[in-house]
Amino acid sequence: MPLSKKRIGIVCPYGWDTPGGVKSHIGDLAEYLIAQGHTVSVLAPSSSDENLPSYVTSAGRPISIAYNGAVARLLFGPVAFSRVKSWIADGNFDVLHLHEPAIPSISLLACWAAEGPMVGTFHAASARKKIAFAITPFVEPVIEKLNARIAVSEAARETLRIHLDTDAMVVPNGIYADRFADASVDSRWSGNTMGFIGRFEEYRKGLSVLIEALPQILRRIPDIRILIAGPGDPESFLAKLEPHLRNRFTFLGTISESDKANFMASVGIYVAPNTGGESFGIILAEALAAGASVLASDIPAFDSLLGGGAYGTLFASENAADLADKAIALLEDPERRRAVSHKGHDYAQSFDWDVVAERIYDVYEMAMVGGRGVTLASDNRAWNRLLGRSNE
């Protein structure tokens, strides 16, 4: 493979200072590409210029908008547009990688302003939230400019096919598999335990399903413990529970990345009872990489990530009785647990950045055939050329 270093521009639609799946995906990808010797610049909305990694350029302060069923921190408007344009003009990029370009954001603006090799990645997967694509007639001619489309999951690909009538290739989100493979078992968390990571107060994370299943599990496995890591208020949460269930819960608060890996490697079962709203389920890929035995609801994202149950156990979503049955069966059969999690561990390597980023870079290379580089669309317009406003 010829080693040629490229100039790559990546646009993140969501505010850089709010944690999120898309943001961390872009951060990891950018760092991987930089480590490979490429020059990478990320354009993202940000509240302040401080604490930004050196490869991130701020496009201005994001606005909180209720969008697509959640509050998104987005940015658009004439000021943002001129920042996007000058970023493209100064960047002299070989290829642009736009994330979530179908929503009103700087990704869409960049796609509008730029001419040349462009790749778009679509993260969102939702059949119901039509509003996300209500602007289709305006978006279509813009999205058309993308040389290649990537969807992060089959569900995202299906969403794209329904709403924008266009096909995409599936490249999953990446994880640093090594960090999880090196995890060690911590005796505080091992044994008959079920681990859960996430904002446990959010209904869609599904902790209430687990609580409903707990009495049934307790009857068979009296020493079961539920370990919960993630932000939230344990006191008000515990107050809602029956007294005899309370002492089964341990709250760890927010844990560090290395603790997270050890946590996943230690717990008897890693449980993800989410009721929906997941487009990829990166946490399950991480749990598999750490060698955890995974028990997850059968929502589309988890079902496809766990290979229909080949690399972890699925239970009927929002069905507490089924969750309890599957959990008991797993906890009583350590042999089977080991066998499945061993397979899952090998499978998780396919989500490693070494694999995923190379696949994304292959797509870049294909988009770059012809090698014109990225320019501003306005430079190519006839009247601007006539007036001598072109940069060339």
Binding site: P141, E144, N147, D167, M169, M366, V369, G370, A382
Partner: protein
């Protein structure tokens, strides 16, 4: 006077819209060309690897002959015969891969690995080409584009039959 201004205004809007459509179509035609150039390049590389494999110990003499023939055909085919030639090469390589699961020679392993890598890339390239062609065909059907002949003399882009094959 006012009517005249209004007419002028709408006329310029319309002219702008036509120019917008023409730019859009031109861009799509360009996308079809580059995605085909990309796919074509990958297919040429696949034929080259196939010939290498035919010369190596991986394939028995009969398979070698079949492979060399298919690869040369794919390389030299005219546009009209290209699709059939590529399908032939895909088939020949498919048979070979099935029968050569356990080779120990590092050089041969490298060849097979390269072939696997190329096959994956060709799949992506085909998807990109098909997408750009169908999109272009869709836009070319638009009323104003046909009415004002905005496609000019650019030939209607087509997908090839072999692109529908499951690799």
């Amino acid at each position: 006077m006012n009517n005249f201004l209004l007419a002028f205004f709408f006329l310029s809007i319309f002219a702008w819209y036509l120019s917008f459509l023409a730019t859009r179509l031109n861009r799509l035609h360009h996308r079809v060309e580059t995605s085909w150039a990309n796919l074509d390049g990958l297919l040429q590389r696949r034929a080259a690897v196939a010939i290498e494999i035919a010369r190596s110990e991986i394939s028995d003499p009969a398979a070698s002959l079949l492979l060399t023939f298919a690869a040369h055909q794919a390389r030299e085919a005219t546009v009209r015969d290209r699709s059939q030639a590529e399908t032939g090469l895909t088939g020949a390589l498919g048979i070979l891969i099935e029968n050569s699961a356990d080779t120990q020679n590092p050089l041969e392993q490298e060849l097979l690995l390269e072939l696997k890598d190329l096959t994956a890339k060709i799949k992506v390239a085909i998807a990109m080409h098909v997408e750009s062609v169908t999109r272009t065909q869709m836009v070319r059907k638009k009323l104003f584009i046909r009415l004002f002949r905005l496609a000019g003399s650019a030939p209607e882009p087509v997908t090839y039959e072999f692109e529908g094959d499951v690799f």
